[in-house]
Amino acid sequence: MSNYGIVIVSHSANIAQGIYDLIQEVAKDVSITYVGGTEEGGIGTSFETASQAMESNSAENLLAFYDLGSAKMNLEMAIEFTTKEVEVFDVPVVEGTYTAAALLQAGVDLDTVKAQLAEMKLNK
């Protein structure tokens, strides 16, 4: 297993599930956890579900990806309450997550992964 895991937080269960389906094809050995939507099954994000997605990941070092702004705020809030090392990336959620997953699976070092992601940065 890679030392680094991936966390996906989306407003929609289908988006989160879809990204997971897409990337697990190319990253079978990367620990990926995801959450989409609210606990009641609606659209949205929350601090608690973002926390759960982080804590249930088997890796201690996490790269986190999200769709819209409030997902980021909940991720950052959750980071304040976790002992894990987590970095949030402001990149397109599908392409960014895919890039990170594929590179981690290939055993690429973290700095190189980050450099690749930096090129995709969005103002989001």
Partner: protein, 192 residues
Amino acid sequence: MDLQTSIKWMELFNEKVQANKALLIELDTPIGDSDHGSNMSRGMQHVIEALEAKAPESAADLLKTVAMQLLSKVGGASGPLYGSAFLNMSKAEHQGLSIAEVVKEGLAGIQKRGKAEVGEKTMVDVWSPVVADLEANSLTVESVKAAVEATKDTKATKGRASYVGDRSIGHIDPGSYSSGLLFEAMIEAGVI
């Protein structure tokens, strides 16, 4: 801050949020995702239940309970934003700071979380003038309402409303409206 006064503050805030739930949803519909009213309503319901289940020992203790409930029960952007605000206010209250300083710390929490500045059509546009008025000892219900109303003519450049750009002009920002309710409740409860 006196404990009983702070309890009164939160009770009044809850009443206002519940009474304005439909309006908050309506404000959030053209420029957001229509969830602000129901999210805040649910969050404040949990706040009141938590305060009834375990009586707070101090105003700082109360503010912390409010923070944790809003953080975990509101969701969306408002959960972490209000949660960060109340968490900071609790810490400031614990240090025995003045109400102006307490609210200023709350604003700092919101800005740290949301990275918004004044003029971007967010709750910062209400919290910031409220802090200035508290420092000048001139905060009134009217000045709170004026700050909320002023968000109407602003174009959103932060938050969900920024996705609709110029179309956000002409609508009051929902987070500013609920913040206005918080500060009206603060004045009515006799916190200042």
